[in-house]
Amino acid sequence: MMRLPLFRYEAPRTVADAARILHAEGPSAMLLAGGTDLLPNMKRRQQTPAVVVGLRQVVGLRDMRWGDGAGGNGKKAPARGAAAKSSVALGAGITLAHLVRDRRLAEAAPALWQAAAQIATPHLRAMGTLGGNLCLDTRCNYYDQNYEWRKAIDFCMKKDGKICWVATSSPKCLAVSSTDTAPALMALGARVRLVSQDGTREVALTDLYRNDGIEYLTRHPDEILTEVVLDLGSGWRSTYWKLRRRGAFDFPVLSVAAAARFEGTGSKARIAEARVVIGSVASRPMLAEETATFLVGRPLDDETIAEAATRATSVSKPMDNTDFVLSWRKRVTREFVTYALRELRGDDQTALRRRFTGHNLAFGEVS
């Protein structure tokens, strides 16, 4: 079997201690939460930290705190007539399985729940964490290979090599953002808290990412992602659609997260605010901002959906480094945006879901 390389293991009990260790060790140290991403990568020698800082015993990282708008930055008020606005702060160490079993979260933030419920397998969700999934290493068929395989292609620029084999003239690495929760949380307008020895900062989740397969996070090496903060204004609906070959196990090769707040009811319903995010088609989740702008003020009728799907597809620029043929992934983007928007509109998409995901994605049916 493949063996882990030797490394030093640190097991701090507090965020402050963890931050201090990270600061002292510099970039040769890496954080370990569930380990479902880092440990296989270490076995394949894709990531070779000298020091591994385990977050398992750090107090507070698994807390889930509900509040009444604790996003705490005075963003604009919820829709007229809305019920009490709520918010939730999710500890980065909460396991994906824990998220999937939380009914309140499933109801308040469907896109996040649907995303978490479709990650990997029950076994991996039992170990993998929310923070780990947000910081997931970017993936590529030329990179996610063992040491000997990568040696046979003379490595690639993401690790040990010089060239990007996906596009040999590319100056930057084209590894793919493969997180499920990030597109969902971006659509929900999430913010994340980063703690270092020097203090704490909070950034919009979208600002955590960079479209670069190697430097895909704006997180500094000495920072710890401790918390995800989510304002759950009422009137918002959200959804997450994931494309993958099989009903389990696979990383997304295309995902669409969409959230919208409606004003008015029935035939008068118009979109007041919207966010559409296309995942797994670049080194970061892509905000389809132009699509969101287009949607505002319109009813979500077939015509609007068709136009929005076309606009959103232009954001999708997949490369040939994941499962499926890239031209087909690009083509299917349009359909997936359509499915997502129809679901926001309230169409029953259960049968389609079942076909694409292998299960109903209903609360209680996923562990």
């Binding site: 079997m1 493949m2 063996r3 882990l4 390389p5 030797l6 068929n141 996610d144 290979q145 063992n146 000997e148 395989w149 040696k151 046979a152 292609i153 003379d154 060239i163 084999w165 040999t168 070959r245 099989r246 009903g247 389990a248 196990f249 696979d250 499962d323 499926f324 043929v325 031209s327 087909w328 083509r331 299917v332 359909e335 076909r355 694409f356 292998g358 299960h359």
Partner: protein, 820 residues
């Protein structure tokens, strides 16, 4: 003695090895840990094709914890599973032939040390031009991947003409000609290959290994290590799945054996998943052209099949695989005249070999799709068409395969009825469809892999005074349930509880030879041998018990752990007492049984591939849903009926049928062992695209449809209690049935596997553009076929010999016989 009733045979039972497996107590090869055991890792070639100029292992040897480095010089003797393809070396000596070919082995105190020491070994290579596919192999004669074979990079070409096919086509009302492509795929057994070798205190070598063929490994080890087989013991540990992927003798098995001998310490290797992809021996990619002539009523007048086979870098079973792509086209439907040409080409990729169905799923895929096209053209229901042309029981086919019982018509009727075929075929809404296909498969290869006249399976029985029975047989438990079949046969004859029988299997020191768990041969051959051994034991017991009960032996019944009078069941003794009586009278009770398949009427060169004591048959209906926009394809339901002859343990039989459906859907929908060539000016690399269980896509439980299984029981006198095979046959009809269902759903033909949404979308684009609504290969390359061996079928006065085969010297003939 009367058989009384089949209390064990035919009853769904918990398998005898089920408890240990469910509790995680089965000891697989990787579970074996011996005192002072060392660990081995293999350094593998990063080049697809290169000459080895120099190897310097001095730095690796200097690393603390490293005990030994072996290179090709330590193990230069060539070996291979087939006598005609002795083309492998345990560690490459002069050149490497694919990325992953091993060049050196490090044996160290820990696996991590061995792994890290691999990077210390300096290997200087001189790269050679890469042959990446059969097209290239046909075009490029040099460099040659091997110095043997037909010519250039062509490994094997075969050509047969069974009757006058030209006349057959002239007689036909319609002639259909199609090309198909079947992509390669691998076995994906959950257990990665592992071996532990150790030298016994008496100096003899012992190896525990996850192998399906301990006997053939025994022979290969004796050859390469230049040791007497008497000093080598091979123990086949229970395999965590085999499917044909553990049927060759492997380099890692030879390497740890050598290392154990050199060091005098146990040495273990457990391959990584990547390395299992390099061992491969999986499904050959096959391009095929099929030409079939039919009368208006659907009867076939002639068939001409050509196959072009991507062999990978070594021979493996490839010569047999080549014959197999043509051998079984005649055993399902009546084909009065048949022509077959096959060509296997070496390429710089892991070697292909036998995977479940060995060489036959590919042409079966093509033939069954073509039958669907024929049915449409003739306006005959495809199920009805098949019923009309099913071959007759006990027939001898155009290529001299002698058939046994055929339950295919009943299989077809059953799936048609259960799937409500008649009201659903061509009547489902757009995007939903059903398709049908059939198949047949061997119940064991009629000839062994190396030429010999000895039995194919042997069984020994030892009866204990305590009433227990130990049965010894070389057969290997690979998850298919062979231990259970063995025990059930013995328990049935002796009338005892299967759990009172201990099976000792797959151990070359302790058990008589069984050729191995391949070609669906174990139940039939081992079962017949077991029945013979048990009947002989029962005779001895009866001879001792009859005088004791003062009745003739013919009145004795062995059942329920007793031996009693059929006319007065209360008069009897326990089985244990019977054993004691027999031992008192005859001495130690031990019997043997063995099985040799009947001689085949095929007497022509190459006719050794295909004959079997009998054949199994299957029919399947598959339902699909296809999204017309994205091409997304799902399979909600499968109906399958399998002609098993007799189900010895229906639980196991159903497991094999459902497992076959599962594996088949993987091949039909997603699995592909494919390779990536990097831009030529930058790299010579030719690497496996995704040697991992994550990215080599195989279905999960969530992708598994509902499967409705029917077993058709029409006992075949050639099988034990009438049983035929089930391990491989039920896989075959699924792939073409999926393709046919896709056509029913959306009117496009996908003439290759895997059938992916991308291909469906392309075919739909063609349809919308008014072109042929099809995705698949368009041409078959020109190949310089040899003169066909002309073998007139029985109805043209043939006797099984070729009329134009020049007589060969006897010794040459011996070495050239190809069997599996």
């Amino acid at each position: 003695m009367s058989q009384h009733e089949h209390r064990i045979i035919g009853t769904p039972r918990r398998r005898v090895d089920g408890r240990a497996k469910a509790l995680g107590q089965t000891r697989f090869a990787d579970d074996i840990v011996l005192p002072r055991m060392l660990h081995c890792k293999l350094l593998r070639s990063p080049h697809p094709h290169a000459r080895i100029v120099r190897i310097d292992a001095s730095r690796a040897l200097a690393r603390p914890g490293v005990h030994l480095v072996l290179t090709g010089r330590d193990l230069p003797i060539e070996y291979g599973i087939l006598p005609v393809s002795q083309d492998e070396q345990a560690l490459c000596l002069d050149k490497v032939r694919f990325v992953g070919d091993p060049v050196a082995a490090v044996i160290a105190r820990e696996e991590l040390i061995a792994f890290e020491a691999l990077d210390d070994i300096v290997v200087e290579y001189e790269p050679l031009a890469t042959i990446s596919d059969p097209d290239e192999g046909l075009r490029v004669a040099t460099p040659r991947i091997h110095e043997y074979g037909e010519e250039g990079n062509i490994h094997k070409r075969v050509a047969f003409a069974f009757g006058d096919t030209d006349a057959g086509f002239a007689e036909a009302d319609h002639v259909f000609e199609d090309t198909f492509f079947y992509q390669g795929n691998t076995h994906l057994a959950i257990e990665q290959h592992a071996s532990v070798a150790a030298v016994d205190p008496d100096g003899k070598l012992c190896i525990w290994s996850s192998t399906q063929t301990p006997h053939y490994l025994h022979r290969a080890l004796a050859k390469v290590l230049a040791m007497s087989p008497a000093h080598i013991r091979v123990i086949a540990t229970p395999n965590g799945g085999g499917f044909g992927g553990k049927s060759d003798p492997f380099n890692h098995e030879i390497v740890v054996s050598k290392a154990a001998i050199v060091l005098g310490r146990p040495v273990k290797i457990c391959l990584t998943r990547e390395e299992v992809f390099y061992c491969h021996r999986g499904r050959h990619p096959v391009l095929m052209r099929i030409k079939t002539g039919v009368k208006k009523d659907g009867s076939i007048t002639a068939m001409h099949l050509q196959t072009l086979i991507d062999g990978g870098a070594y021979g493996s079973y490839g010569v047999a695989s080549t014959f197999y792509t043509g051998a079984l086209q005649t055993v399902t439907y009546r084909v009065p005249r048949y022509r077959f040409e096959g060509c296997r080409v070496f390429t710089n990729k892991p070697p292909c070999g036998p995977k479940r169905g060995h060489g036959t799923p590919q042409p079966r895929f093509g033939q069954e799709i073509q039958l669907d096209k024929i049915a449409e053209k003739l306006a005959i229901d495809p199920a009805e068409l098949r019923l009309r042309i099913v071959e007759s029981p006990n027939a001898v086919t155009a290529n001299y395969m002698r058939l046994g019982t055929i339950g295919l018509a009943e299989c077809i009727r059953r799936v048609v009825e259960r799937s409500e075929w008649k009201t659903r075929y061509r009547r489902l809404p757009e995007g939903r469809g059903i398709g049908i296909a059939c198949s047949s498969y061997l119940s064991g290869a009629g000839l062994p892999i190396y030429w010999n006249a000895m039995p194919h399976s042997g069984v020994q029985l030892k009866l204990d005074r305590g009433g227990g029975v130990t049965v010894f047989c070389g057969a290997t438990e690979i998850g298919q349930g062979s231990d259970d079949v063995l025990v059930a046969c013995i328990a049935q004859i002796l009338g005892i509880d299967p759990f009172d029988v201990r099976a000792v299997t797959g151990d070359t020191d302790l058990t008589p030879v069984d050729l191995g768990s391949y070609s669906s041969r174990v139940t039939l051959m081992m079962g017949n041998a077991a029945i013979q051994a048990a009947e002989r034991a029962r005779e001895q017991l009866a001879a001792a018990v009859a005088p004791h009960l003062e009745i003739p032996p013919t009145r004795l019944v062995f059942a329920g752990g007793r031996v009693f009078d059929t006319e007065d069941p209360a008069a009897g003794i326990s089985f244990r007492e019977a054993v004691c009586l027999a031992e008192a009278r005859f001495g130690t009770i031990g019997t043997v049984g063995s099985y040799t398949p009947p001689a085949s009427p095929a007497r022509y060169k190459g006719g050794g591939v295909g004959p079997s004591p009998t054949y199994s048959y299957s029919a399947a209906v598959v339902e699909v849903e296809v999204d017309p926009t994205t091409g997304w394809l799902t399979v909600p339901r499968v109906w399958i009926a399998h002609d098993i002859g007799r189900a010895l343990n229906p639980t196991l039989v159903r497991g094999q049928v459902e497992g076959s459906v599962y594996m088949a859907l993987g091949e039909a929908l997603m699995e592909e062992q494919t390779f990536r060539r990097l831009p030529n000016k930058l790299s010579k690399a030719l690497v496996h695209k995704f040697p991992s269980m994550l990215e080599y896509k195989s279905p999960t439980t969530l992708d598994m449809p509902e499967v409705f299984t029917d077993l058709i029981e029409d006992p075949d006198p050639r099988g034990p209690f009438g049983a035929k095979e089930v391990g491989q046959g039920p896989l075959l009809p699924i792939m073409p049935a999926v393709a046919n269902a896709v056509y029913d759903a959306i009117g496009v033909r996908i003439d290759e596997v895997p059938i992916t949404p991308e291909k469906i979308v392309k075919a739909l684009d063609e349809k919308r553009a008014g072109r042929t609504p099809r995705y698949g290969p368009s041409a078959f390359p020109e190949i310089a076929w040899p003169e066909a061996l002309r073998v007139p079928p029985p109805w043209e006065g043939g006797d099984g010999h070729a009329v134009n085969d020049p007589p060969r010297p006897r010794s040459a003939k011996k070495s050239k016989v190809i069997h599996t």
